[in-house]
């Protein structure tokens, strides 16, 4: 971008020299390199972990899509959405319906999953655009109230239209087995992890580029001062709708990937609690930073696992253990959310960045 804006001829060679000396790697290449590195890392790790840990890692990746999308919306564009659990449900149910439709017509090739994922993203984009157009006219508590209504109502619709969505039982998601070329004894969870990781990394590369693009700057301008943004020629409402749609698409992909992992969808998995969990994850991870979304997604999977381990240490009656296990993560999430908002609004990634601030300045030159 800077090369095309080189000033008048006399100074062009000097400018070119300057650029060549400290030329930053193009953003897309850098992000692709990071994604490729992350992909190779996951590939290596997937051979070291057992099936259950592979599955958990895949769940982290699926949540990561949703938390990254919410980070864009809330952290970057300043719009609060409590409805992302419902958007994930939209993606998950669309994927389930597509996979079932393919299976009914006898199409069982693994490749149709890509089509189903695409359909899931498109359906969520449509729903996201609908909510986003309304959301762009609303601020603060009004927006929160509307998205809260979406989060409460959409899962209930699966019961209202149980002819399509099969009510509380939900739908099964028929999935093709892992490719035969990988061998008969290839663990299915490892294959799931690969599929989910590829989709998530693609999503993250797109989002990371968006953050560094014209749109990302417009998002931040709108978040910081709407009037100033409007004076600078930014169409505020359009920017907010774009942010909402992008965020919804990521959430839809995340929901669809969760459905791929669980091989079933039911409304119970996408209730209000999920929406609040997602919000909690991005707030604790650190609003406005995609790296924060990673922390949040890890936390969403790790904390319930951790509380499970802790409750196993005590000898409790089965009923008490069940109550504690189901609710202790919620309590910890709730407390953390309150404490983080009061004490450290920057979240985990904010703390990390502050620690990184102690490093020499040249290490931090290209940080956003």
């Amino acid at each position: 971008m800077s090369a095309t804006r080189a000033p008048a001829p006399p100074t062009r060679s000097a400018a070119a020299n300057r650029l060549r000396a400290g030329r930053p790697v193009p953003t897309l290449l850098r992000h692709l390199a990071v994604a490729a590195g992350a992909g190779l890392l996951v590939l290596a790790i997937s051979y070291q972990l057992d099936s259950f840990r592979n599955f958990q890692l895949a769940t982290v990746a699926a949540y990561l899509c949703a938390t990254a999308g919410l980070t864009i919306l809330t952290g970057l564009c300043g719009q609060l959405s409590l409805g992302h659990g419902a958007l994930m449900a939209t993606g998950a149910y669309t994927l389930a319906l597509c996979q079932n439709a393919f299976a009914d017509r006898g199409v069982t090739a693994g490749g149709v999953l890509v089509l189903s994922l695409g359909a899931a993203v498109l359906a969520t984009v449509a729903v996201g655009a609908l909510v986003g157009v309304a959301a762009a006219r609303l601020r603060g508590p009004y927006l929160a109230g509307l998205t809260l209504a979406v989060a409460v109502v959409v899962p209930a619709l699966t019961v209202t239209f149980d002819g399509v969505f099969n009510g509380e039982q939900g739908l099964a998601v028929p999935m093709a087995p892992a490719p035969a070329s990988l061998g008969v004894y290839f663990p299915y969870e490892r294959w799931q992890l690969w599929v989910v990781t590829v989709a998530t990394l693609l999503c993250l590369v797109v989002l990371a580029n968006l953050v560094r693009s014209r749109y990302g700057r417009a998002f931040r301008a709108v978040r910081d001062d709407e009037v100033a943004a409007r004076l600078a020629g930014i169409h505020v409402a359009r920017t907010q709708v774009i942010a909402f749609v992008v965020s919804a698409a990521s959430a839809g992909l995340g929901g669809a990937l969760l459905a791929v992992l669980a091989q079933s969808v039911s409304p119970g998995a996408f209730g209000l609690t999920l929406s609040l969990f997602l919000l909690m994850a991005v707030v604790i991870g650190g609003l406005g930073r995609l790296a924060g979304a990673v922390w949040g997604a890890v936390l969403l999977v790790a904390l319930p696992d951790l509380t499970h381990t802790v409750t196993d240490l005590f000898t409790l009656s089965p009923a008490a253990a069940q109550r504690l296990e189901g609710n202790l993560p919620l309590a910890i999430f709730g407390c953390t959310l309150i404490v983080v908002m009061i004490a450290a609004p920057g979240g985990v990634q904010g703390l990390v960045s502050r620690l990184a601030g102690a490093l020499p300045a040249r290490w931090r030159r290209h940080r956003p």
Binding site: A134, A149, L276, M280, G326, L330, G334, P345
Partner: protein, 292 residues
Amino acid sequence: MDRFLFLTLDGLSRGAVYAAFALALVLIWRAGRIVNFAQGAMAVAAAYVAYSVTAATGSYWLGFVAALIAGLLLGAVVDVAVMRLVDHRSPLNPVIVALGLVLLIHAVLGMVYGNEYLPAQAPFSRTALTVGGLAVLSPYDLFVFAAVGVVGAALVWIFTRTAIGLRMRAAAFAPEVSRLLGVNVSGMLTLGWALASGVGALAGMLVIPTELGLHPHAMDLVFVSAFTAAVVGGLDSPPGAVVGGLGVGLLLSYVSGYAGGDLIPLAVLVLLLAVLLLRPGGLFAPVAARRV
């Protein structure tokens, strides 16, 4: 026609509860420019206190009083221990903190009482009385009207006729000036939270016996309906909240009577969306209201 009359009366009774709950939201919004998203969870917590007290003493009314006191205390505690510490410069912060409270309250209730539906007792019969062959209100509906009416009248009296009400209004309207004139502004805010939470607890006690029963999530949809009611009336207007509550109650009653109870959540969402898009300031908004 009979059916229409029955649905209308049933809707008004349902709407009275929404009105009370919306009133609680409006109280806090006027006092501190916060929509208390934890209102539903706080009301459920008060209802669980009533459940415990009733189970221990065998008296519904002791439980009822305990719920109201628990609601008042919980509101004050939430303000003093949590909300006062939040940085209010960004309007997102109080909302996020309130949602953290929702998670925490749901979790604590789930740990203590379990995540099953518990039976909620109604103090009066819920079968409708018949007058001249027409099924009209049940004794419980009359109790709902009376309770909401008494609370509404008490609030009007407090805010218009007492010195403390005047101070509360002053503290909300012009905090700096009130402070200079010797009003304990943060104390008034805490009192406002307590009152609102008490009214919310009352609404919870009234609505839970008419639904599936006591459950940590019992008030989720009620909260959304009451928020819709408050928005219909305009978040700033207490009379608007009452009218909005009754209107939402009527609408939901007609929807469930003529189109099926499954459609209630969808109807709430459509109504909220329509109001926010067509008249975001609410039906009772003064001209040039605050931008939403």
